[in-house]
């Protein structure tokens, strides 16, 4: 079984500045790391490999530095890492990204199962996994919290929905996106880290993956960001409660809350 895990390099800090003109994140100064949900996707794939055999390939789209997240995946013992890299991919929104990744998977690492983290911490869209399934015409299960089993070319999973969980089975090939609660990702193993010392990802560009140039990068991205801004902090009124001791102060607060009908 070939399992492909889509991973993404994201800013390491939550305090990332915005480019006021381009309305995009200024990524270079923040430091970079692997998207947290994607670690759970990798762990899911490695557990499936342990239980059912097969090969795990990690794939990412990004600049050359994005090879760092592939190294991390190699440390966790994935078999292969593919970097989809080129100027032509720059400025991609989720539609273009999912098209690019699906084209690369189709061409370079055909998959029986594609696993994505359910959401990336930088864009917060949760659209790339579903997008890939659409482009490849595969079944999709999002928000997976447990992989029950793989049997007769079907995968049985539990997904969280509002008000409960659902057990779902879908035919392979399929795309699943996983929630953080699905597992605890392993640390990079010693042998994995030894491999990292010599690891070079397989790098592919638009030509290598046979993609339609009008569907990638900025050209293939219908999303346009009109404005990005940091919301202004509202000044709230406040009042300091005075009193002889904690009991008296608490009584005053309680009285106020009752009088304002905030509690009844």
């Amino acid at each position: 079984m070939n399992i492909v895990v889509c991973i993404k390099q994201v800013p390491a800090s939550t305090h990332v500045k915005m480019d006021p003109v381009k309305h995009t994140l200024i990524r270079d100064k923040a430091g970079a790391t692997i998207n947290p949900c994607d670690l759970h996707a990798l762990e899911s794939a490695l557990q499936i490999r342990e239980n059912y055999g097969g090969k795990v390939t990690a794939i990412t789209m990004g600049p050359f530095q994005a090879a760092d997240v592939l190294k991390k995946a190699v440390g966790m013992t994935v078999d292969d890492g593919i970097l989809v890299c080129g100027r032509e991919f720059a400025g991609a929104d989720t539609l273009a990204t999912s098209y690019t990744l699906s084209s690369a998977i189709k061409k370079v690492c055909p998959a029986d199962l594609i696993i994505c983290g359910k959401i990336a911490v930088d864009g917060d869209t949760a659209q790339v996994g579903p997008g890939i399934s659409k482009w490849l015409g595969m079944s999709l299960v999002c928000n997976v919290i447990k992989i029950e089993k793989i049997e007769d070319k079907k995968i049985f999973v539990k997904r969280a929905v509002e008000g409960g969980n659902e057990l779902v089975s879908v035919s392979l090939p399929a795309v699943i996106t996983v929630d953080k609660s699905i597992n605890i990702p392993r640390i990079e193993s010693i042998k994995g880290r030894f491999r990292e010392l010599e690891f070079e990802p397989k790098v592919v560009n638009a030509e290598d993956i046979d993609c339609d140039l009008t569907k990638i990068g900025l050209n293939g991205s219908p999303t346009s960001v009109a404005k990005v801004f940091v919301p202004e902090r509202q000044k709230a009124e406040h009042e300091l409660i005075e009193g002889k001791n904690a009991g008296e102060k608490a009584q005053k607060i309680a009285d106020f809350l009752f009088e304002s009908k905030l509690i009844i």
Binding site: R186, I187, E188, S189, I190, K191, G192, R193, F194, L197
Partner: protein, 386 residues
């Protein structure tokens, strides 16, 4: 201090450090309290390749020798000397096989040990034979192709949880120490059972039990080396394994120093952090000096063993073990003192480190026995020079 670690050695230490922070620190107090064996953690150690560091690559290990093992045990023992022992005592149980096993025996067991799927133990000590290893009473009587084992081993680390035991038993009483033989005995062999699990002062996450042999039949193919070599197998095992105890002791000491230093920066008395008082500063300085000296003697001993340039290293090995464990005891006592009242409470890690440190002065040869060996070698060397 710069120890000129290779890239691979650095990776071993980093991995062990990350592993201990992620999987051991959050649960160490709980395991200490309940005395449960850390099955889940050990499984994860195997997954991270921490179980086969000293095992040759041809058997699925990393081939990084005693020094590689030392680095990993030190890093993990900084966080918990008890949980780490599940792996470190397996190394003790594996050395007889590594040193004296034949190809079939090695191929059968080493890959499983390296992957963390097999736990080992070493059974030498008995009620009346510990330091005096020549007095063991467990018998192995020959019966065709089998040996029949009878007797009881006491205080065996990993007892009950281990899958494979190296057991030293008497095959020819008339020959004394030369009449002992080392056997590989698998858990589940008929006539082999375990006594009660001991309740210990420290290293409480580790399992310590008796091994009970009642007409336990073991095939001759399970002998390590050959009949009569038991004492030599045991002594050379200890020479190779004592750096592991030293590493555990060093880790506990270094961990206690870290905790004491951190606490001294936070705890305020008379309006200042206690780290600003010279009485505390001098204690911290002594602890740091001793920890660094312990590390130096241990690393150099481990490198000496791995270099294979020195045939007999019983003196160096005993020095590293005795020195590091004495440092661990002094350092952890001082750490509790720096923590003051908090140090005596189980809410803080210092008292556990002090309890864990004590065993390192006792097992795998008490520090008194280690000193005997050091002196014996000194005298031998001096006489040889005459």
């Amino acid at each position: 201090m710069e120890y000129f670690l290779s890239d691979k050695e650095k990776i071993v230490a980093e991995t062990a450090r990350e592993f201990a922070e992620k999987y051991i620190r959050p649960v160490r107090a709980e395991y200490d309290e309940t005395g449960e064996f850390p099955w889940e953690i050990l499984k994860k150690m195997g997954q991270a390749d921490l179980c086969g560091i000293y095992i040759p690559e041809e058997y699925g290990g990393l081939g990084l020798g005693v020094f590689g093992l030392t680095l990993a045990v030190e890093e993990m023992s900084k966080v918990c000397g008890g949980i780490t022992l599940a792996m470190a005592a397996t190394a003790l149980g594996t050395f007889p096989l590594l040193l004296y096993g034949n190809k079939e025996q090695k191929e059968k067991y080493l890959p499983k040990i390296a992957s963390g799927n097999m736990i080992c133990a070493f059974g030498l000590t008995e009620a009346n034979a510990g330091s005096d290893a020549g007095s063991i009473a467990t018998r192995a009587d020959k019966d065709g192709d089998y040996y029949i084992l009878n007797g009881t081993k006491t205080w065996i680390t990993n007892g009950g949880v281990a899958d494979l035991y190296t057991v030293i038993a008497v095959t020819d009483k008339s020959k004394g120490a030369r009449g002992t033989t080392a056997f590989l005995v698998e858990k589940g062999t008929e006539g082999f059972s375990f006594g009660r699990k001991e309740s210990k002062m420290g290293i409480r996450a580790s399992s310590t039990t008796e091994l009970v042999f009642e007409n336990c039949r073991v095939h001759k193919s399970q002998i390590l080396s050959r009949e009569g070599m038991g004492f030599i197998v045991a002594m050379n095992t200890l020479c190779n394994s004592r750096p592991g105890v030293a590493a555990q002791a060093l880790g506990i000491a270094a961990g206690a120093l870290d905790e004491a230093l951190k606490f001294s920066l936070e705890r305020k008395q008379f309006g200042s952090p206690i780290s600003s008082f010279q009485a505390i500063q001098h204690m911290l300085a002594d602890m740091a000096m001793e920890v660094e000296a312990a590390r130096a003697i241990l690393y150099q001993t481990a490198r000496t063993i791995d270099s294979k340039k020195q045939k007999n290293f019983s003196k160096e090995s005993a020095m590293a073990k005795a020195f590091c464990s004495d440092v661990a005891m002094r350092t952890t006592i001082n750490a509790v003192q720096i923590f003051g009242g908090s140090g005596y409470m189980k809410d803080y890690p210092a008292e556990k480190m002090m309890r864990d440190a004590k065993i390192t002065q006792i097992y795998e040869g008490t520090n008194q026995i280690c000193r005997n060996e050091i002196a014996l070698q000194l005298i031998k060397d001096a006489k040889g020079k005459k």
